[in-house]
């Protein structure tokens, strides 16, 4: 049985490589993600890319380059152990300050509602609190992503406000919901 340095029951994390590009093109260009604006640095469902994007191979190679060389982000592909398939990616951003970081998760649409987010997110949060001085982990969620908001609350994140009219996409000025969790709050509820 293969061993991975970052693994949960069904999943493992790894850096993305060229062989994943065909799948990533399929998922990142899917209609479901059309209005998820994607920051080229973090590939997060909240960012500053203002336009609808059709990715090509070179775009994705550029993103790999940014991810691999960045001292500001950590980015991992999420893979199933059984089928060895990529099902999403998870990144964290400490460009502002490692004391307070931003966590981003994207499970690709066809793999949703199978409990993968519930498996990988607590694992990643533990990893962050065990390797960085981080005291606050923040997440930003688009107003239409109600399941993501419920999920954040389920994990113990607290709502800390709403940023209004940050972006225009999908025909409306959109609001971003802010959540965060503090190290002691996480430690109190999720013993490792």
């Amino acid at each position: 049985m293969e061993m991975y340095s970052l693994e949960t029951n069904r999943l493992y994390l790894n850096r993305l490589a060229e062989e994943q590009i065909p799948k990533l093109l399929e998922y990142w260009n899917s209609p479901e993600l059309r209005y998820i604006t994607i920051d080229r640095n973090t590939m997060i469902p909240e960012g500053n890319h203002p336009y609808t994007v059709i990715y090509n191979k070179n775009d994705i190679l550029d993103i790999f380059k940014i991810w691999d060389n960045s001292s500001k982000y950590r980015s991992f592909g999420i893979f199933t152990k059984k089928e060895n398939e990529i099902i999403g990616h998870i990144t964290y951003d400490y460009s502002w300050d490692p004391f307070s970081i931003i966590l981003n998760l994207l499970i690709y649409p066809k793999y949703r509602n199978q409990g993968y987010a519930k498996e990988v997110t607590p694992f990643m949060i533990d990893e962050i609190f065990n390797t960085l001085v981080t005291h606050n982990i923040a997440v930003f969620i688009d107003e239409d992503e109600t399941n993501a908001m419920k999920f954040a609350e389920y994990l113990g994140f607290k709502s800390t406000g709403v940023i209004k009219h940050e972006f225009y996409r999908g025909g409306k000025l959109r609001n971003t919901h802010c959540y965060d969790i503090l190290r002691p709050e996480w430690r109190n509820t999720h013993a490792t």
Partner: protein, 188 residues
């Protein structure tokens, strides 16, 4: 049309401003960003960043130097970064310590807000600060901003934990506060 108020004028950043910028960037009392600690910016670093920019003003970022009209003295710097061009932006301001508490920051900020909302057609402007920097968030509130989110205990600087505050003002709110200006921008 120059960006001008009663006492000050905003102009594009010039190389001669870098020496002043060095002083305000290295003054930790004026900023709550731990990544700027220790405050050891050098002139050469600022010059390198300055030379890298082809223009000081573009769609995503613009930095202005604040000059006192009467004396032609350097007062500080004000800038904006767009999240999405013509939609939303964040303003940042740094004032020389000699000009603190005299309303120069407020005046510069009002000039830039009018530029962004009235002339450029922005829909939302954001202001980020931390809770201990009362002067900063009070200035923003005076201009019509409201606190929209509070990232709890997210800044540790100068020996203290502090909340990061996000304040914002929406287009409608701005024009409500400024009945002397007419909003001619077509609705989305």
């Amino acid at each position: 049309m120059p960006l001008e108020g009663k006492r000050i004028i905003l102009r594009g950043l010039q190389k001669e401003d870098l020496q002043h910028q060095l002083l305000i960037r290295n003054n930790t009392d004026g900023q709550g960003i731990a990544r700027n600690l220790p405050p050891v910016f050098t002139y050469e670093e600022l010059e390198k960043a300055f030379n890298k920019k082809e223009f000081t003003i573009d769609h995503k970022f613009a930095a202005f130097t604040i000059i006192e009209k009467e004396t032609n003295e350097y007062v500080g710097q004000i800038s904006y970064t767009s999240y999405q061009p013509r939609i939303s932006a964040e303003i940042g301001i740094l004032i020389d310590e000699n000009y603190w508490g005299k309303g120069y920051g407020y005046e510069a900020h009002e000039i830039l807000l009018e530029f962004l909302f009235y002339r450029l057609g922005m829909r939302m402007i954001m202001w980020r600060t931390w809770e201990d920097n009362e002067g900063s968030w009070k200035l923003a509130q005076k201009s019509g901003y409201t606190i929209t989110s509070r990232v709890r205990e997210s800044i540790f600087i100068n020996g203290k934990v502090s909340d990061l505050l996000r304040l914002q003002i929406l287009r409608d709110e701005y024009f409500e506060k400024h009945p002397e200006l007419q909003d001619n921008l077509p609705k989305l």
